[in-house]
Amino acid sequence: MARITLDHIRHSYFPFPKTDEHYALKQVNLEWRDGGAYALLGPSGCGKTTLLNLISGLLVPTEGRLLFDGKDVTRATPEERNIAQVFQFPVIYDTMTVYDNLAFPLRNRGVAEAEVDQRVQEIAAMLDLSKTLRNRASGLTADGKQKISLGRGLVRADVNVIMFDEPLTVIDPHLKWQLRSKLKELHQHTRRTMIYVTHDQTEALTFADTVVVMNHGVVVQTGTPIELFERPRHTFVGHFIGSPGMNLLPAEVKGGTVTFAGETVAVENGAAASSARGKLEIGIRPEFISFGKTGLAADITKVSDTGRFRIVEAVSHGQRVKLLVPEGIAIPAGRAHLAFDAARTRLYEDGWLAGERPGDAP
């Protein structure tokens, strides 16, 4: 097990990258705690898999250093790093039995047969594969095969980190839940560092203690699921996490106060407002807007009932605003006033939370 440090890692698939556009990973500094459960969350093509392959040693970064427990492993092979990785599509050794598949990583490392057997039986029991151990692996269903892949990742007791690259893509929805809670359980049981790559926010938020959100090759925020929800550091996080996503309203700053369409809006990070520059926006989640006697005047255009909540769409000064209204609260007809929770309303500059743009002094 190890603490993993990514020190100014940049990676490009071009042999001679010139502009920032050539970099799949623009600059990443991260510290993964030993024994943590991490999720790497982001849309397709944001660099998640690249980052994962850099950690596992399948790729060597163009720039920067990678440390395991302070030891430089930037150029070490996957084997030397002693890591495990589970891929998006099941990888099984067709000609072997399920048992031999699970035993393969151990046997390659010369582990004694008695210990191999013990580990394989243990992992098979965890993944409900015990009954099929003697079967040929190629005959299994897609989720059976992916369980073998997971099993091969988990079978070695001494790995530094186990990485999962969207491992549940091919799994049936009802089994997804089961396997995800199984992984969570395994983590609590073994306390091994796990990194889980996904583009599915539910998977990320339920699995991980710490979620790393990426977009366009940059880490936009690292935090607990609650932090990501309550205090998005970037409008991308506000939009990507939560359903529906965060409302964004064009803003102006006049004399230190933040305004939307001429009306003053109180924001939590108002102190940074006076120095904010670039494209300014006010961000607030639909959960934190309520109906009030005063506040922003808006016309209600649509109400959709999701069961526990109703999503209300309103238009104010030509801008659409969404609210999440709990059951039991009356929705005014036609014209209404919207009250923003000032502690959760924030100003963003060029997408970044005002005052926390990377490169600015904190």
Partner: protein, 287 residues
Amino acid sequence: MKKPVNNKAWFLVLPVFLLVAFNALIPLMTVVNYSVQETFGDNVFTWAGVQWFQDVLRSDNFWNALQRQLLFTFIVLAIEIPLGLGIALTMPKQGFWVSVCLVLMSLPLLIPWNVVGAMWNIMALPDIGLLGKAINGLGINYNYTRQPVSAWFTLVLMDVWHWTSLVALLCYAGLVSIPDAYYQAAKVDGARRWAVFRYIQLPKLRHVLTIAVLLRFMDSFMIYTEPQVMTGGGPGSATTFLSIDLVKKGIGQFDLGPAAAMSIIYFLIILALSWLFYTLMMRHQET
């Protein structure tokens, strides 16, 4: 429940039926026709029963040619399949050299078969040919028109030169279609080079190798043009393979009945052996 019957569909299959009839069924049936009758020209046929089949199966010529044929095919397969696989494994996966390799490998396959025979015929001439002169220059007595061993050596070498590319290209196509994730997983699992070959590459190449073996088996078992041009079946009858023997009988001596009987036996041998190969190589598929 009654299924709807549409007899118009037969009309649409008719062109294929005609095509198959003219290029396969009718010629094959003509051969069957000749194999059980005696003919003296003028379309006069008399019934001969299984006479010609008995003649063929009792002739030493046939059994000797069959033995040579089996030996030749076995040697050629034993060299070309591993060699082709080996070449495919060492070919680059990407970059400039891929195209260079592919073009170079395809060249022998693009040369007409009789030209291949003529090329090697000249190249292996002991007095003026590059290859023949070189071997003799090494102090080895080599003359493919006089010594059976030299003739066999030249024919095998020529076939390996001509056809190993096909095996290599098939295997290469199979290899590049293996997803990267398999190699990555193998790296993470700590697999050595041999384990990668044994547990990933070889199993994934099973179908491709089956096809390669079948193609090379059938083609080498039917080989005619190159040895005919090269040695004409000699010296003596040292390189008289089944097809050469057949042509001598049918065209040379105009023994149409025995030649037809032999054709059918020849065809059945190829069919049976192909089936055997296919079944053997595919038998693990269902279990």
